[in-house]
Symmetry: D2
Subunit: 112 residues, 4 copies
C-alpha cells in the first residue's frame, strides 16, 4: 500500500502496457495472468474435492505442489513485469532506490 | 496414483481418522482443511480481482506471497497427518520402506 | 538437542548403518556425506575468492545457487536416512509420535 | 559469464562501491560478505565434524538449515547490491532490459 509515488504510469514503457488514471497499473500480461489465476482457482477447488472424496494424501499433495509451481510462475511473471515497468521507470525518474528497496522486500518474501 | 497398497486404513490410528472402504483416506483434519482451501480459493479470486482493477503490482505480489504461505501450511498439515497415519501404519505392517520413499519424494518436491 | 530417547541405535536397521555407543548415530552414507560437505566447503571458499577478485555479481550468485542445491541435496539425504532409520525404529518401539513431530519440524524449516 | 557489457563500472554509484578496471565489480559490502562467507565455511566444516562424531541427525539438520539461511542472506545482499548498482546503471545507460532479464533468471533460481 506504500510507495504510491512510483505507481502512476509505471508500466508506461513496458511491452503492451496501458496506463490507467489514478495511480493504477495495468498488468502487461493481464489476460494471460487472469487465465492463469482462473486455472489455479480451479486447481484449489479440485484439491478440496479430492479431500471431500477421501482421496489418497500423496495424490493430494502432488496436486498441492503443482498449484505451488503455478502460483510461483504467476508471481515471477508479475515480478518481472513490475521490474521492467515500474522499477525501470522509477530509476529513470530518479526514485530508483525506493523502488529497488520495495522490490527486494518482495524477492526476500519469495526466497524464504 | 501409485503405492495403493498402503492406502487402506492408513489413518486408522491417527487422531479422529475414519477409514473408508476402497483404499480411501479420510483426512484427520478434513473440515479444517476444507475451510483452509475455501479461504485460499477466495484469496486467489481476490488476486484476479486486483489484477482486473489494475491494482499496484507490489500489493498483488504481497497477496500472492500470503497465498503461498497458506498453501504451504495446508500442505504441511496434510504431510504431517500422512506421516502420522499412513507412513506409521506402513512401518508397522512392514512396508515402511516404500511409504518412506514416497514421503521423501513429496518432501523433495516442497523443498525445491 | 532434545528427543535423545530415540537416538540410540536408531539407524540399526538402516542400510549399512552401524550403531555407536552413547546415543550416537552413524550416518548410513557417512563417507559420501563427508565428501559432499568437503565439496560444499570448497565451493564456499570459491565464492569468497570470486568476491576477493571482484568477479561479476551474476556469476557469484550463480555459484551461490549451486551451493544451495548441493546443501539441499545433502540435507535431503540425511533426512531420508533419518526417516528410514531413527523414525522407523521409533515407530516400531512405540515412540513414533515424538519422532514424527521432530521430523515435521525439520521439514517445516526446509520448506519455508 | 555472459552479459559482460553491463559489468564495467556498474556499482559506480552504489554505496561505497569502487570500480575496478577490466569489467570487474567490487562488491559494496565486500568485507562484510567475506566475513559472512568465512563464517559459512566454518559452519559447513562444523557439520562435517558432527557427522564424523556420529552426532544426532536432527541436530545436524538443524545446523544445515542455519547454513541455508546464512547463505540466502548473503545471496540477498549480493542481489540487492547488484540491483542497486549494476541493474540501475544499465537502466540509465539504456540496456535495462538485458540486465533485468539476467536479474529475473537469478531470482527464478532462488525462488524455486
Amino acid at each position: 500500500m506504500k510507495s504510491a509515488e512510483h505507481r502512476t504510469g509505471c508500466h508506461g514503457d513496458a511491452v503492451a502496457a496501458v496506463d490507467a488514471p489514478g495511480g493504477q497499473v495495468t498488468q502487461p500480461h493481464k489476460q494471460q495472468l487472469l487465465k492463469r489465476l482462473n486455472r489455479i482457482e480451479g486447481q484449489v477447488r479440485g484439491i478440496a474435492k479430492m479431500i471431500e472424496e477421501d482421496r489418497y494424501c500423496v495424490d493430494i499433495l502432488t496436486q498441492v505442489s503443482a498449484i505451488r509451481s503455478a502460483l510461483d510462475a504467476a508471481a515471477l511473471q508479475i515480478l518481472e513485469d513490475h521490474t521492467r515497468g515500474c522499477v525501470q521507470t522509477a530509476v529513470r525518474k530518479g526514485s530508483g532506490d525506493a523502488a529497488i528497496a520495495e522490490l527486494m522486500d518482495l524477492v526476500r518474501r519469495f526466497v524464504k
